[in-house]
Symmetry: C2
DNA sequence: GCCCGTATCAACCGATCGGTTGATACGGGT
DNA sequence: ACCCGTATCAACCGATCGGTTGATACGGGC
């Protein structure tokens, strides 16, 4: 006998993409789309009600809760919660790391071949980790030559920096002295491999370290 | 009698999205997906060969030719060329304006309801302009209070700025004097409504003025 | 022909930035 | 107990940035 269908919940903020995925997956054996969510809150509510086996989650969810947060909330509920399979456009180190840290069972890219999606969903339902080849490559590369990650405080500094604030304004915004801002900035420059604040903003946007 | 099916070519760099769209559109009456392209070059080649009525074009096409360029090349071939219907994630002023300027017959968002997509495709095939409501709103808002557009030279300056270069380096890169760079930067700040270079980079990335 | 926008350059000045050195303090890990 | 990473602050200095004023030149549009 074949195992029962995988009950799947879609979460993506683009209705056209959701509809496309539903149409695509409905043609696959052993996969049943039980619902669609357009944002993180909706995904949590529908997951609680529909008890899907797997949530197919985009990381970019528009204005509200982001996909990483939604993933954490979905998986933090213990063993009863659904598996989360991340399906997104970006293969950035930061995205992958954060998604895995948030409890994602798998991670694959929208650029992947569709049949990879089918198998990844079945793997995820079985509790097996499902990382597509490019994603796994990136993870290993990162392990081999680990990039110095920004500390949380440095992240905050970077956020203010991207708003165009000067050092004094950043200092006021974060309730620290201007001197501290400068030391943080120095470390940020070193870690990002840049020499100016404009360069730091550019690299940060590039690596998707900022909203 | 009903008119023959609209012959449609998909162009999107994400295979999963393409497959989803194909699955979705195959369920629609009067629409026939005749091919898929994953980048701009492929789209041009397949359009020449398959002679589709409409090309459904994403603006973000990864590394190579961008969607605006592909649209221009597709529509510049005179009346024989296909209609181009842009389907993308972003409703940024710059994207909409450039796509329309490049000859797009329609522009709609992936966040739109799927049935809007069906009607837009049929409209585009008939040569009618197809702008979804949010996009049309933005266009009108822009006409009512036109934002000062950056000149081409200012764009170049901005590009170098985003690389983190100093004024002197920008001057050398563009073969102009440092003084000229500063005057350009002053106008850029005014037009973007910022006061610092970091702010300019942030706003530029926000409005998608940069790659 | 004239006006206006754009691009180019110069010289100036104060404010800010970037880098350095050195210091204190707190927490986690061995 | 010790070390290491992180966060915090101070003082200093040269280089750069941001703003201003003023100028020339070229092109398109009325």
């Amino acid at each position: 006998m074949s195992s029962p269908s995988v009950r799947l919940l879609l979460c993506d903020d683009h209705a056209v993409v959701r509809a496309g995925l539903r149409a695509l997956l409905s043609s696959a054996d052993g996969i049943e789309v039980v619902g669609e969510a357009g944002d993180g809150e909706e995904a949590l509510a529908m997951a609680a009600r529909l008890k899907p086996d797997v949530v197919l989650m985009d990381l970019q969810l528009g204005d509200g809760m982001d996909g990483v947060t939604a993933t954490r909330r979905l998986t933090s509920g213990g063993a009863a919660g659904p598996r989360v399979l991340v399906l997104t456009m970006f293969d950035t180190d930061a995205d992958i790391t954060r998604a895995v840290a948030a409890g994602a069972t798998g991670y694959l890219l929208k650029a992947e071949r569709p049949d990879e999606l089918f198998t990844a969903i079945r793997h995820a339902a079985a509790g097996r980790t499902a990382l597509s080849a490019p994603v796994a490559d990136r993870l290993l590369a990162q392990l081999r030559s680990p990039r110095p990650a920004l500390s949380e405080r440095e992240h905050e500094i970077l956020g203010q920096l991207a708003r165009g604030l000067g050092n004094r304004e950043i200092a006021r915004a974060l309730f620290i002295s201007e001197a501290t801002v400068k030391t943080h900035l120095g470390r940020i420059y070193t870690k990002l491999g840049v020499e100016t604040r404009a360069g730091a903003v550019a690299v940060a946007k590039e690596r998707r370290l900022l909203a």
